[in-house]
Symmetry: C2
Subunit: 131 residues, 2 copies
């Protein structure tokens, strides 16, 4: 879903990985795995917002959660859980986050304590699970 | 991933849900949930093929698995598990599969006994899981 790509771009800009940073370092984020739930129809032209949460990170990986909402409402219309890998594009090969990125990530984690629980994570699909 | 959308379209054509069928019945498939694993880089212009398996279906839902491979090779480059819902677009609301679709689905299931196991299904993401 394109809007979640924009949300990941916005997150990257806040952790020292905007376009300029990426050009200078030669590093970027690759998506290893993504899970998307489409919960409600959203008509073209609807004003929406995305809430992004960091579910966790280590020295190379970032586990994030995006939820899509109608402007002015909290109900979740769609959600995406993603595992992203920090990559040196010259390889491409995995690369450690810079100390600055780690600090910025930790700052965001510290700020997000009041966010609502990420509902659509760790889901296993199956015909016996609730639709 | 666009190529997996094409694979779903190809599957729809084999279960009585091609463009003509959809126009006539007013029914189609909506994606409820999708899980994608990006395993290996695929350079632009690489010739690829997609293996599609039906993991299960009930009267309204279809659980499918696509895996992406380089032409002539079996190694999985990317994989996607999806839960699709049969929908009457006039609602939109969920709708029962036609008897013809059910028969065609069962025929495909009967044909796919020799396919390799779908590896990237029922996966739970996490920093403690193997990358």
């Amino acid at each position: 879903m394109l809007i979640f790509s924009y949300a990941t771009d916005a997150l990257m800009a806040r952790i020292g990985l905007d376009a300029d940073d990426r050009e200078q370092s030669g590093n970027s984020l690759f998506t290893l795995e993504a899970h998307i739930n489409y919960l409600h129809e959203v008509k073209l032209g609807t004003e929406v917002w995305v809430q992004t949460q960091i579910l966790g990170f280590d020295r190379k990986r970032l586990h994030v959660y995006h939820s899509l909402h109608r402007a002015g409402f909290d109900e979740v219309l769609a959600a995406s859980e993603q595992m992203l890998l920090h990559v040196d594009l010259a390889g491409p090969r995995s690369a450690l986050f810079s100390e600055r990125s780690i600090e910025l990530l930790q700052g965001l984690v510290d700020e997000q304590q009041d966010l609502p629980l990420a509902d659509f994570v760790a889901r296993v699909m199956g015909l016996n699970s609730k639709p």
